[in-house]
């Protein structure tokens, strides 16, 4: 296998296998979750479950919606930068191999500019987890590994975008594939459960007329 063939395999076939793997594991996990009994609200509603769920999803975009972000706006900003960076790095794994014509130098620069701040935030998060006792006592090896591996993912994404040599591309896509295999088994999979939990909790608060997030009622 030539170097180019290896890069091609890692960029396409390996990514596809890893993606199918990830989706399959998620599907099984979510199916098992859905099999658990759910105590749905059965009393007459005071408000709107639908609005409650919508409000709950939307609240994440609004730092004023909950005290924990309203009074710690730096924390909310970190949260935003980190997740925008992660999203950009994930999108890049698709645009890079499947839409190379879109990846002009200015576009690559924009992607890198979105991902780089996430690396800085990642370092802050890692430091805080080590220093703050409240976080240290609840942290597991999985927590630290998730942060470190995401740092690597961001780093290789930025290098693949800005330097773009085959070896950086190979490293980026290898890390991505490993990531896809690992993520469903780690806390990084929280984003899948996010949609579940915000629906369930938002629906309940909305049903009961509790305007958490400000617009449920």
């Amino acid at each position: 296998m030539s170097n180019l063939q290896i890069i091609h395999f890692v960029e396409y076939e390996l990514q596809a296998i890893a993606l199918v793997w990830m989706v399959t594991v998620y599907a099984i996990k979510l199916y098992k979750l859905c099999c658990l009994p759910m105590p749905w609200e059965k009393a007459p509603a005071r408000g709107s479950a639908r609005r409650g769920a919508a409000s709950s999803y939307a609240s994440i975009l609004n730092p004023w919606s909950r005290e924990s972000s309203r009074e710690h706006k730096g924390r909310w900003l970190e949260f935003g930068l980190y997740h925008v960076g992660a999203l950009a790095a994930i999108v890049n794994t698709f645009t890079y191999p499947f839409a190379p014509q879109l990846m002009t130098d200015p576009v690559k620069l924009v992607f890198a500019a979105l991902i780089a701040p996430a690396m800085v935030v990642g370092l802050i998060k890692l430091g805080r987890r080590i220093v703050r006792p409240e976080l240290r006592i609840v942290s597991t090896p999985d927590d630290y590994f998730a942060l470190v591996s995401l740092q690597l993912f961001f780093f290789f994404a930025v290098m693949a975008l800005l330097v773009g040599t085959p070896s950086w591309q190979l490293a980026y896509f290898l890390v991505t594939a490993l990531f896809l295999f690992y993520v469903p088994f780690s806390k990084i999979s929280h984003y899948i459960y996010f949609f579940f939990s915000h629906y369930l909790t938002g629906r309940r608060y909305g049903w009961r007329g509790v305007p958490s997030g400000g617009i449920a009622r």
Partner: protein, 417 residues
Amino acid sequence: MNMQTAIQELDKRYSRLVGTSATNLCTHCGWCIEACHIYQATGDPEMSPVAKAERVRRVLRRKHDWTSKVFPFWTGAKDLTEQELNEWEELAFRNCTLCERCVVNCPMCVETPQIIGAVRGTLTALGKGPEILDQLADSAIWREEAVDELKGAFLEQIGELEKQVQDRLGNPQARIPVDQPADKLYVPLSGAHTIVPPAVIFNAVGESWTMSLFEAANNALFLGDIPRAKRITQRILKEAERLNVKEIVVAECGHAYAVLRWEAPKWFGGPLKFKVRSILEVIDDYVRDGRLKLDPTRNPEPVTYHDPCNLGRKGGILEEPRRVLRAAVMDFRDMTPNRWENYCCGGGGGLVANEDWKDFRLTAGKVKADQIRQTGATVAATSCDNCLIQITDVVDHYKLGAKVTTVSQLVTNALVT
């Protein structure tokens, strides 16, 4: 203790809400930490919501999470031990009041109180629930069994209270009807303060009402003991059915409202035959419809209001008490934060019943004491008996020099007859 039995009991309570919050949903980000009044009052890292939930999550993950089954050290998963189970007693019944303040502050909506609630139910099933809550739940069931024997003495006591109602209204025809067919069945708590003010109000507006033979309190809910909680609730539902009422009106009590309004329909498979409202909602209607004439100058002191978690954050009753208080008092001042963001008083979740943990709940009440002090109010009103007891103790302990009362008492003070 057989740990297998304990795990089986925990598994029985592993619902979709618990399961979602027990998986990888929690990222250990720590946004919930400062949301907890107990953490704020103690500064103890072990008292943060994430730390409390994590103690249980580690055991649940060992059983339900694939990674944790194979590599427990990686996710911090642990097998349940007898020592851990014993430590869970304080964790579940003392260190968390199930107030849900952490839930509304969590960016992931991790339902820590659901996890803690599952532990409460498990411990109770294993005979490790607080004895006092157990006794209170049993006595509520016994009261139904002995109702015929108790009825005479109860009616005699009500007769004494009826005189107070007549004196307040200057109306010898005012009554506290018990066990009579009517439109509304009012379910009080034990204590004249939950009977006389509502009776004054119902008589003042000429309501068709009757009072329950039973009290609304349901301590089995705090134990997470659903079969017993259903049994206690059923007494009231049977009574309502027998008296053919249209509506059950619950006294100023957070958990009793939660039971009858939200939980009972889940337990009994669908909406109840009657409307269920809190007395606050009923008084609010009377005030808005002009049926109650109130003179706020009769309550001239600055008044603040504590939102009970079960009525506010968990029940949506947020504006009703405020509208009523603005009509009944001269100077209403909200605490900060308030409504669904309000802090627990520190006595919720049944904590107030346990004398052994009084020092702990007074420490936890510091946040509430600071909130009351900041308003400058000399009267602290609330709509829950547990909150009333806790805030009375907190006011005394922190020397706030404020009076503590209920909303219906302030309405009665302001009533123009």
